[in-house]
Symmetry: C2
Subunit: 924 residues, 2 copies
């Protein structure tokens, strides 16, 4: 007698599903994911074994009341079992005609560490005989019984399953057989008795014969498993609250192991790799669920197309059970129409009859996600907004990266030399070069090359630009090589530790093999997989880039481009955040525009300094102690920088362009080897010893926390002046060409208002002078990076002078965590993967969910950003706020930026599409 | 007709003082410091030239109303002038009997950059003749007139005074005289005309002849000077609000230049160097105020005692004008009794008659401050609380430092070789040693030595302990040498850039001189002044330490100790903050206790590792890659650490002792030279190349942000375990001796709760095991440093596990500012002293008020501390909070810690008295 949420005066904890039952409330939070899935399928009239769900509320009660079952639950379970008995025409606990059930856990989200499944519950020494008679299959009965004893003992009473496996092996030996299926019913019967003895020995208590006791203990085991250490740890890492609790799903057993007209299987309603609209699945005839997982037998393809494509000659479900197959296809179709997404299914065929055991949204690759989303949009299953939400921003990267043909890879497999970190997606191929000079030389000759270095430094920038891709032997996915490569869209494999560079003889060898690589040898790297081949593999730029940048393809020739374009158009329709790019050259700026950037959020002037032909002047400017030398160098650099800015402003016509003043510590510009030092000494007309003294004097213990950022421009105002002059003269020049120039000058590493005040005075004076000389005045903005905690805290004062804030989340992460990005490889990987937990009851402890240099740390760094935004707006309500740095192109971080109301994100040009999509998702 | 604050219906802006006037409200905020001083003296009946004050309110009105004078002000000034005219029996603007006045600015605090003084206002070409007749002194009249033209043109109209000086020189040349006083009245008259012509040429406007115009313009000039760039900049740096405004003080002129019975002078009511109770001052006969400042003539001592003591044979005021002198002494006495503090006075004697022009609290040295405070307590002028407030905490350091006898210094002056930064107060003398080994060797031989190094590293710790003092050639007052020296109470001079170390031949030379220092040569350093002598000067420990630590003096034998002791006793009576010490050895702990520490707030275990005999084991433990070696090393170190902790716990009987787990990056422990590396390789049974590889692998780009702090203990749990075991075994051992042990284990550099969770599990497990083994359980605490911004932000979670927070403000300052302490020397000194301001109207811009590593940055670092305190207490109301690190012994920082409600501060043992006093002042 149940009304709403009350049954006989008690809260309702049990909901039956299936034939003749009311549909339970289809609420994942109440029924768990699994319970909702089967209830919903039953409601749709699909073939689901009847059963019931014990709600998460019961689990909550149990946890909050010292493991006491809620009052009324026993009666509700009893009543639900009665319904099952009626439906199945069998009795739970009966010896002659037993009803067997499966007990499964099922929280809102699937969660490792929780009890999974107990099948065949309800069997005991007597019921097994009744079951044998019922099915007329004694072997099935004892096979099911021994499986039940094993599963129950393991998942309910935590007995190590190895002891049962060993006994099974022993029995097969005794019987002189090799396969489980060759064991006779009698042998299995004997095995069941031995299993029960083993269980008694292991736990000190006999195996419970009473099916009602089995059921209650299985339910309690599910509840208890919610609080297992592993499940708890999993929740803590994902930030799931402990009080969700788990539901319990109890279903009548169906048997895939009743013979050749029975089977069990799993499948996807569409191909999870490609997204193609065809059922993709595997099954095992005459088997129970756990056999598929155990991997003892090779699963068979569900349909003929799949068999042909995968070259399998195993019989398909389509062939062997055409009726059930047809029913499965119809069911899949109905589920897709109902759930409007690709489904991941579990099914069992019991003597030719199909039963659905589970349905949930299926995981898929990036390509598949995109294809499926578009197909479903065309099929009318989903609308535009849903299409946007269906594609992971990160998956777009695959659309943009150059690719190796899989055939090519197969061919080249003997030349696979090493594997490193897949630090910059895409494929690159060419001849190996071991220095930036060589890379530039090759580029000049029109020869494609891959730069191979122990590790890269800022001086390698032009080499990285010249090369097709970059391979390093040291450094993680946040090393200089990796960061720069992603920034300029180059494939990169880094930290390839098995490679050894022999400096004297200038070759690379692969440790533990005889393989050797010399300059000029062919090499290919796959930055998507981390593979390194000592061979030349052909690559093609992605179709999207062929259309947008190389213009070697027309839009109408590429479906991939059209999809990309549609996604971007839709994303732009919904997003609020502006997306800018980090671009250091005119070329970067053009790429950024082609990929949809609405401005430049960061131009790093120092990258312009690293050019070979300028470096000597840069060094003269930074290290000369004579006014004359310095002035000459400044004049030269002014010319260079101006021409850079001219190109950038041209490309950005009508779009804001943020230029950051010189940022890195001076020592980065010092030559590293004796020869170059001598050259510089000559060029500077300075004794080598003097130069060495200067080099020593500016060396820093912790350069990241040293004399850099605006601290340079404050002590050496001519640096700021030169850069500002280059900016404003370039701006005037481009404006006179009739373009709209919107320069924004950004001061790095401030901690106080007075620093900005000093730099702004130089910038404003220089602008005024430049405008007066040219007879033309342009609007411009002066703003600041917020990249140190103190800047965030003092944002109110700083915003009295700043027209914009750009959060430099790389530095802000470094300072907030006190972790140097360059050194983080020593411990951050272990922090993420987790270390052994020295305390009680928990194996591992994870310190970080993500690398905070990859995914913005919302709890720490993010709070400082919110503080800065609030305080900044207090004194300057028109303050423009944005983020530049690696996080600006990472989906979760972009989402956060949207949520806290920033105006824009800025990321490397090739991440712009990712940011556009992420911004749209955040807005929807 | 004035009633209260209203005069004839207008607000009252003018208050007259002197004979027959009501006493103005004695409010510094209204009258300014100077105005209040003279008004109060007039009220006391002391001889003050009559005058009046225009209040700061008038200035505020003027500033807020586009430089319009408030209505009614002109009439009120007119009325006040009338009062003066009556009092002086002269008329302002009269040709025959002119009234002359002085106009001075005077804000709440004296402020550089504001207009100072215009004397003799009221003169013009006609009035000067009247004045000559009036005084019967034509030379006086024209001398006053030419001074007036100069001062007025300069301070009111900003004419460069150099043009007048040059003209004066020219005139002296023309007249063939060398001294100003030798110019005749006619020559001066001619000079006045030339000055007026120069003024006209410089400003384009004639010198104003109308005294009323002169007065109005001088008043406006005072108001305007409040908004001069320099005054504005000064206010910004000191955080004084712009809206205070300045008052104007107008007084009738009195003349110290009327002849030999006239004089002008300054003085202190007690000796500002020693505090001795005797008037100390200087005067010039026949002079006006600015002559004393200009320094053209040598000022004469006021009294005979002073003359004798300073060896001066110039006539004293006591001798030459005994009546005026007597009056001055009586006045000084009255002022002290009235203001209950030592006063800094200005006076003028006009034809034998004394006039007081200013009185304010006098600045004094530390020793003087203490002596004066005690004298005044004894005289009943002040009470206990006032005594505490009268002593700058920093001044106590002088009571504790060893000293050179001034006679010794005089004798040694030919050997003065260099001056460096006075980084660690006190004096040290001995033979020079250039290495830690040599220092230790000398110590063992009982020879006192001074360690002379280019710079020091952690390995030099034992050398610094062995030496009497430390001298370095590089590094600022926050360098390793300076920090450690202050920590262990050693005199230190650092950054002595004129010294050059010749490594090959092992000697030091003084650049630009022929002086050379070899190992074994005598050397003395004065860490209080920064002086370095290449000679041996005798030092004595301060009397306080002789009583408290060396026990070579009885308390009753030392007045200094008694004063110290009284100050400390009083401080302890009033303070709320507990004061702990940072101590790394039993000896440190004893010193700390003797100086009043109530616990240890920081024991740095790594300092224990640096001991020569342990270092090899430490290195084995940190770098061995074989389990066996590591275990042996750990066992050895366990023994060492335990014995250290036993000594510390013994010394700290009954007082909490906080021990920090290993903190520095491992590379700090790597040998630096080839030879030592080879030795270690041998000891570790490892090839040198392997060791070099390890050394390379653990080298970090930014070690401060690297693999250090708890990041070590998490990846190498045996480090934490060994240290915890040593702590608890030592605790048990000392507890069994009947002492009360209160260990607190502190985890460094956490950024998240899970890090603490990991380390706490090891600590708790180890404690449990140690207690079980010993059959004894002790209470202990586990807490954490809060030294990174993220830890402060996540304090709520962290405090769920932490029993205490200790703010590590050194690291917290580094990370909040993004400034490495080691590298801060490159720009922080310029940030503090100010850099050229590139904008309008202001010469310099200061970025930092103080070095944030010396004085806690309350605006940034301090806010993070408050955030951490609030959030920590939210989840753990019993959370104990404190500060360790350099700031714990700095007065302003201690005050802040009191204000935000911390429980304790911890500082180096020799700073404990400073902290005790600062804590008391904060509480009062
Ligand atoms: Mg930055
Ligand atoms: Mg620290």
């Amino acid at each position: 007698i149940s009304v709403g949420n009350v049954v006989n005066g008690f809260e309702r904890y049990v909901f039956s599903f299936g034939d003749g039952c009311d549909t339970p409330p289809l609420d994942k939070n109440l029924l768990g994911g699994k319970g909702k899935g089967v209830s919903e399928m039953a409601d749709m009239g699909l073939p689901v074994p009847p059963g019931f769900v014990i709600t998460t509320e019961a689990c909550k009660y149990y946890r909050n009341n010292k493991r006491a079952m809620p009052e009324g639950l026993d009666m509700q379970v009893e009543a639900a079992m009665k319904v099952l008995e009626r439906q199945m025409n069998a009795q739970f606990g009966s010896i002659d005609n037993p009803l067997l059930v499966a007990v499964r856990s099922g929280a809102r989200v699937s969660m490792p560490g929780m009890m999974e499944t107990v099948l065949n519950l309800g069997l005991n020494d007597e019921a097994v005989e009744g079951f044998a008679r019922q099915t007329n299959n004694r072997r099935l009965a004892y096979d099911s019984y021994r499986r039940f004893i094993t599963m129950y003992s393991n998942v309910v009473e935590h007995v190590n399953p190895r002891i049962f496996e060993k006994e099974l092996e022993k029995m097969k030996e005794e019987q002189g057989v090799t396969q489980d299926v060759d064991l006779s019913a009698d042998a299995l019967k004997e095995l069941c008795q031995r299993f029960k003895a083993l269980k008694l020995k292991a736990t000190g208590t006999p195996f419970p014969d009473d099916p009602r006791e089995q059921l209650v203990r299985a339910i309690r085991a599910v509840f208890d498993s919610w609080d297992s250490e592993r499940a708890g740890a999993y929740r803590r890492f994902h930030g799931y609250p402990d009080d969700w609790g788990t539901a319990v799903v109890i279903m009548t057993m169906v048997f895939g192991n009743k013979g050749d007209d029975s089977a069990t299987g799993v499948g996807f309603t569409r191909d999870p790799s490609t997204g193609e609209k065809r059922f993709y699945g595997e099954f095992l005839p005459n088997a129970q669920g756990e056999d598929v997982v155990a991997g003892i037998r090779t699963p068979q393809p569900v349909n003929e197309l799949q068999a042909v494509r995968s070259g399998s000659d195993l019989p398909t479900l389509e062939k062997t059970m055409p009726e059930a197959y047809k029913q499965l296809m119809e069911t899949a179709q109905k589920l897709e129409t109902h759930f409007r997404d690709m489904q991941d299914l579990e099914f069992t065929i019991d003597k030719g009859r199909l039963f659905m055991l589970q349905t949930r949204t299926g995981k898929r690759t990036g390509l598949a996600a995109i294809n499926i989303a578009f197909d479903m949009l065309n099929e009318g299953l989903i609308d535009e907004k849903e299409l946007i939400m269906r594609i992971e921003p990160e998956q777009l990267v695959q659309l943009l990266a150059p690719v190796f043909d899989p055939q090519e890879k197969k061919r080249a497999s003997p030349h696979l030399a090493a594997r490193g970190l897949n630090a910059g997606p895409g494929a690159a191929s060419g001849v190996a070069v071991f220095s930036t000079e060589k890379a530039v030389e090759m580029k000049a000759k029109g020869v494609k090359c891959v730069l191979v270095r122990e590790e890269t430094s800022p001086e390698d920038f032009s080499g990285m630009v010249a090369a097709e891709g970059v391979l390093t032997m040291r450094g993680g996915s946040t090393s200089h090589a990796a960061v720069v490569a992603r920034g300029i869209g180059k494939p990169c494999v880094c930290g390839c530790g098995s490679l050894r560079y022999n400096r004297e003889e200038n070759f690379v060898r692969v440790e533990g093999t005889g393989m050797v690589l010399r300059e000029g040898d062919p090499i290919s790297i796959d930055g998507t997989t981390g593979e390194v081949y000592f061979a030349e593999l052909h690559t093609t730029p992605s179709e999207v880039l062929q259309v947008l940048i190389d213009k070697t393809k027309l839009p109408e020739e590429s479906k991939t481009f059209q999809q990309f374009n549609t996604i971007m158009t839709l994303a732009d329709k919904y997003r609020r955040l502006r997306v800018h790019a980090n671009a250091d050259t005119g070329r970067d700026a053009e790429v950024a525009r082609a990929l949809g950037a609405q401005g430049i959020g960061l131009t790093r002037t120092e990258h312009m300094f690293m050019d070979k032909e300028r470096l000597t002047d840069v060094r003269k400017m930074l290290f000369s102690e004579t006014e004359q030398h310095r002035k000459e160098a400044v004049a030269m650099l002014l010319k260079y920088q101006k021409s850079d800015f001219v190109e950038i402003f041209r490309a950005m016509d009508g779009h804001p362009t943020t230029i950051r003043l010189l940022d890195p510590p001076r020592h980065e510009f010092m030559p590293h080897d004796e020869e170059e030092l001598q050259q510089l000494a000559d060029a500077m007309d300075t004794p080598l010893e003097e130069l060495l003294r200067i080099s020593e004097a500016i060396r820093e213990a912790n350069p990241m926390l040293g004399h850099r950022g605006c601290r340079l421009g404050i002590l050496f105002p001519y640096l700021t002046e030169m850069q500002a002059q280059a900016i404003f003269e370039a701006a005037v020049e481009v404006a006179k060409e009739g373009k709209t120039v919107m320069p924004e000058v950004m001061v790095p590493l401030v901690t106080s208002k007075n620093e900005l005040r000093h730099q702004k005075a130089i910038i404003d004076n220089t602008a005024k002078a430049a405008f007066e000389r040219s007879g033309m005045t342009l609007p411009y903005k002066v703003g600041t990076m917020i990249e140190l905690p103190r800047a965030a805290l003092r944002a109110k004062e700083i915003a009295e002078l700043a027209e914009f804030f750009s959060f430099g989340t790389n530095d802000l992460t470094q300072s907030t965590f006190g972790i140097s990005r360059d050194d983080s490889g020593h411990f951050v990987p272990a922090y993420i993967s987790g270390v052994e937990y020295p305390g009680e009851g928990q194996e591992k402890i994870q310190i970080l969910d993500n690398n905070p240099f990859d995914v913005l740390d919302q709890d720490g760094v993010g709070e400082l950003m919110e503080i800065a935004r609030d305080r900044g707006k207090q004194s300057n309500p028109n303050l423009k706020t944005g983020i530049c740095g690696e996080h600006g192109g990472e989906g979760r971080s972009v989402n956060f930026c949207h949520r806290i109301g920033l105006d824009y994100v800025s990321c490397s040009p090739y991440r712009v599409p990712v940011a556009r999509l992420a911004a749209a998702q955040a807005a929807i």
